[in-house]
Symmetry: C2
Subunit: 179 residues, 2 copies
DNA sequence: ACAGGATCTGACCGATCGGTCAGGCATGCT
DNA sequence: AGCATGCCTGACCGATCGGTCAGATCCTGT
């Protein structure tokens, strides 16, 4: 196996650190120490602390964009079902990043670097709410969104997938649904 | 009205700041500036940054302890119902603190100052799960716990109470329930 | 052997962090 | 008047933060 490059090593350690103590709480010194290189090396590979975060989020952001595109073509009912499974899978595939972005959600999504994520998340939330404009449905969607994103950090195993999908479906199937 | 004391003013501003940018992200300078006093004044009223946080959490922690005691005497089914309403009310009454503690949950609950909160939250989680040991029920309870705590920051109005209780009930009534 | 780019580092920088300290300024008691 | 007490402050401290920079080291193609 092609020995992890320093760059990838940095990303892996930074992901763990950010998820563990938050973006502000993590220090370049600490990350460098854990990687086993100097702080200057971090800043050789990345323009700055922000750039590390951006590089970290990028893959998850791309998947989120893909999910968003996939949902766009579906009707409300199908979009909700697809949003639930798609979101759970996405979050399980990027535990640390998802947890990080949602632990500091309000603060991060304000910053221009992640401005493009906001409409994506809003769309996802809307899809989870079954495209309903009822505030109760929106609140339910937000609870599910934040709750799932927050619960996956530091938990092991993909075996929680079914449980997550199940709780999301229960929470989001509102009495308005006739079937 | 008895004009808010400096101490209370500090607590109010700190609560908003902590909830907004996180504990690590907030600075004493910033808080002092917003209060309209010097940083030294903060540290006259409180032993340190940690002490401000502790004072801030204390009332909510007391209510959590009271809720815990109330749940202890109930059977699983009744405890779950009471836990849902009690938790929603508690969180709505202490939006900022609840949001803060859950945005930095993993990191905070480790620190000795808040160690006593952990069993309380675990009990609450267990009650929400209907005292079930099924991992799926526990995961559902965690999603609801974190999702609700996270969604209330910066949102206005108590009118979300019904919606929160409703989504929690839907999410937590599992197929195992026979009624 | 050599050149040149990629990679990495120690030393250093200004800014800001949480926290300390001696003292200023009221107020009220004796 | 003198004195104590509560509240507040400016000046200052060491530590740590993110970030810069000149140069050492390694690797590869010629």
């Amino acid at each position: 196996m092609p020995r992890r490059s320093t760059r990838d090593e940095i990303l892996a350690v930074a992901a763990a650190q950010f998820a563990h103590v938050g973006f502000k709480g993590a220090s370049l010194q600490e990350i460098a120490a854990e990687v086993g290189c100097s702080k200057a090396t971090l800043l050789y590979h990345f323009a700055g602390k922000d750039a590390i975060l951006a590089a970290l989020i990028a893959p998850a952001a791309r998947e989120l964009a893909a999910l968003d595109a996939r949902l766009a073509g579906l009707d409300a009912r199908a979009a909700r079902a697809a949003a639930i499974e798609g979101f759970v899978d996405l979050v399980l595939r990027h535990r640390q990043e998802a947890g990080l972005i949602y632990s500091d959600a309000a603060r991060f999504l304000q910053e221009p670097v992640f401005a493009h994520l906001r409409p994506l998340i809003e769309n996802l939330c809307s899809a989870l709410a079954g495209r309903s404009s009822d505030p109760a449905d929106c609140i339910a969607a937000e609870v599910v969104l934040g709750g799932i994103a927050g619960v996956v950090i530091d938990k092991a195993g993909e075996d929680m997938r079914d449980a997550l999908v199940a709780v999301a479906e229960r929470a989001l199937i509102t009495p308005n649904d006739k079937d």
